[in-house]
Amino acid sequence: MKRFIAFIALALVAAMATACAPAPTATPAPAPVPAPATATRAPAAPVAPTAVPATPTATARSGGELVFAVSDPPPRTYDAHQETTFALLHPASPHYSTLLRFDADNFPKIVGDVAESWTVSSDGLTYTFKIRPGIKFHDGSVLTSKDVLATYEKIIFASAGVASARKSAYAVVDKIEAPDDATMVFRLKYASASMLTNLASPWNYIYKADLLAKDPRYYEKNIMGTGPFRFVEYVAGSHWVGKKFEGYFVTGRPYLDGYKAVIITDTAARAAAIRGGQAMIEFRGFNPEATDTLVKALGDKVTVQKSPWTCNLTVTLNTEKKPFDDVRVRRALSLAIDRYEANRVLSKISLMGPVGGVLRPGAEFSATEAELTKLIGFSKDIDASRKEALRLLKEAGVPDGFAFTLTNRNIPEPYEPTGIFVIDQWRKVGLNVKQNAAPTYLNDLRAGNFEAGIDFACDHADEPDLQLLKFISVDKSSTNYARYKDPILDDLYNKQSRATDPKERAKFIRDFEKRVLDEQAYQFHILWWQRIIPHLTQVRGWKITPNHYINQDLRDIWLAASQ
């Protein structure tokens, strides 16, 4: 008996000793060869409209490590061309450059990143980019237009077995060429108003052609870019580390010696980490309540930056199910919601922000207040709207209302409070609505297994091509969960997309907006989001933008002496 007990004890000790042995380190990329320490001076005075990004602030100082929180671990691959979550962009963007980028200080102005300058042919069909000379990858090799070509071939003409999440956004591109090491040419099938915005996409990291040629999936598990920071390690579920790249092509940048992205999934724990000085910033955002708590606790040690957000929540109605196939019912549902009350109530407790139409309020091409309030459901006279809603319900044969289920995402912020608000609004016109916030949310929406649903959209820019795509016919848009076909909307979408005259484009967008939100009310917006970033005042040089995808390369951030 004793022998057996001794055996069991030994087995337990052995098992625990094995488990307690130092954990293996993460699977970092093959160690990049350090680049020569000489920085390449950014070319002087590039041809308009490009500019060498931001000049150093007089008080900026070098050194230190930025520690920031990320609310989710990175996804399956490190390849931003196929991923769709900010949880990759936040830790990985500092390793990469893009062809163009948004100028955070003058958003939405687009400036060159590896592109030194560019020209667009008079017919709008040819975009020619000059690549900055002397840009180096972290292994010391020089970036040429061949690398940009290989990158965009991967994105636009993805080879078999390699996913490209944004391939359809470049359907306008006919072919791409690199006639010499410093020139990159995009030839389009037709003129496109969104081409530059798409080329400034933060997802389009420039990869190295040689590595892609050897293995098209190389970037799924490895990092090798030309960004301001080299990759050091990623410890799964814990943290991601980057170190200053001395060979970065913008002189004097980055200021930081390095950064650490710490994964903290719990919202309260993220706020506590900032409050306790363990993290300096979190780039996605906190709600107003959490922000107020931080400000109250830290006083002037915390700075708050706010911005509207290019994200929104909409109500989508399954037009294949009765009574939502009746436009009168759909319009009544939109009319019953007081968006201005929603803004007043929800913006205090959640990420929900301003009232807007198909484009973010304040963005180019967005509706003015006068234009917006003319659309059904957006009037400020809610009593008149609800009276009209009741009339339409009566006319549709449901004078006493009806019962249905609102399918919602099972994520508290901002979905749940918004769902509750909308249900309460509908009750005021006699509708009896239950909420179903299930993990099968997305599948239900995709499969048409719902009556009404809360839908969402987030984009990297205020670009009608991106924001209107969801509303065109179901056979042309995989995210049109309302499941209708509307050739008029499809036609308007194409016209606005190809209109190179802003006035003409604005007119098509207004017509599109009126048809989708007012005349048909297939899907309608509740509110747009607000982005609130409270960060330690010590963090300088970072400016908030209307989305959490861009301005994440950290090159302009510096740390003031701690207070």
Binding site: T84, K167, A236, H239, A268, L466
Partner: protein, 317 residues
């Protein structure tokens, strides 16, 4: 005894196979899959072609029986597969978190044992005195307070009183013991306190029962010292159910501290479990369920063997 142990070890195989079949089917009953979730993030223009391609890559387009067979065949070769979400080996995903989870479970168990056995025994010996009442209040408070809530209170207290927070990144005990313990002690206390409350009440009640046994009276009548009566005749006989509770709680702690891990930002097995389930990461969820099932079965087995060590009357044939 050898035959008994061998039989018990062999019986683990059908049990684990049953668990494997159940979890494999349950995961696939839920509509939707990891690929949909992955591309549901934010961008709204992922073509169906990309989604189909990714499904094929992960083997989700194959018949269910083939997916199951591939998984089981892998396990037989000690290849537990790769996580569908991270693309890394499941053994790697578990290994980097097991040290933390195991250390937390061991520390919490140690705290629970140190608190519960003396307190439970003392409460039984001093039944219905102020000592007993105080210990009962202490243990009921532990039962009433979820460990994550106690953890939040601890964090808030530290932030408000000292503007200090424990480190948020795990450092191995072997690398920097001070840093490691400064991170681990608070969650271990929060979890250990609740854990001790269960064991304290169990120790008290079984001790009270044992104290009334004839052999206790006999020992005292023979003139055996009270300390020896309590420790040798009382506690040793009362400890069996307590060992069961402690063992099962230990197994639970390895994968069940989800909220506590979130509150203290611990990169442990519990958080990995939740992430795997919410992302429909079939392979990782299956691997973790098998791991936790194995731990439960193995701990039960060890407890059964301990019975015969603690109580020589128990013999297994």
């Amino acid at each position: 005894m050898q035959k008994y142990i061998l039989t018990r070890l062999l019986l683990m195989i059908p049990t684990l196979l049953g668990v494997a079949i159940l979890i494999f089917l349950l995961l696939r009953v839920i509509p939707g899959d990891i690929v949909e979730l992955r591309y549901a993030g934010t961008s709204s223009y992922v073509p169906q072609e990309t989604i189909d391609q990714e499904r094929a890559l992960l083997g989700l387009n194959k018949p269910l029986w083939e997916q199951f067979w591939n998984w089981i065949a892998g396990i037989l070769r000690f290849d537990f597969g790769t996580s569908m979400w991270t693309g890394r080996a499941i053994t790697y995903e578990v290994a980097i978190r097991l040290e933390l989870s195991l250390q937390l479970a061991m520390m919490a168990t140690l705290i629970a044992v140190i608190l519960s056995i003396p307190l439970g025994t003392l409460a039984a010996l001093k039944q219905d005195t102020w000592v007993d009442y105080a210990i009962r209040i202490f243990s009921i408070a532990g039962l009433a307070m979820p460990s994550f809530w106690l953890g939040i209170l601890m964090i808030l207290a530290l932030l408000i009183l000292f503007q200090w927070l424990p480190p948020i990144l795990f450092t191995s005990l072997w690398v920097d013991p001070v840093k490691n313990l400064s991170q681990m002690i608070l969650p271990a206390l929060a979890v250990g306190y609740r854990y001790s409350a269960v064991a304290t009440r169990m120790t008290r009640s079984t001790m009270l029962e044992v104290m009334r046994e004839d052999y206790m009276r006999t020992a005292r009548a023979k003139g055996v010292r009270e300390r020896f009566v309590v420790m040798r005749h009382g506690l040793q006989n009362a400890i069996l159910p307590v060992v069961t509770v402690i063992g099962l709680e230990f197994a639970f702690l390895l994968g069940g501290l989800v909220v506590t891990e979130q509150v203290f930002n611990l990169n442990g097995i519990g958080q990995l479990f939740v992430q795997a389930v919410t992302r429909r990461d079939y392979t990782l969820t299956q691997g973790l369920v098998l791991l936790v099932s194995f731990v439960f079965i193995f701990v039960n087995f060890v407890i059964d063997l301990l019975y015969s060590f603690l109580d020589p009357r128990i013999r297994y044939q």
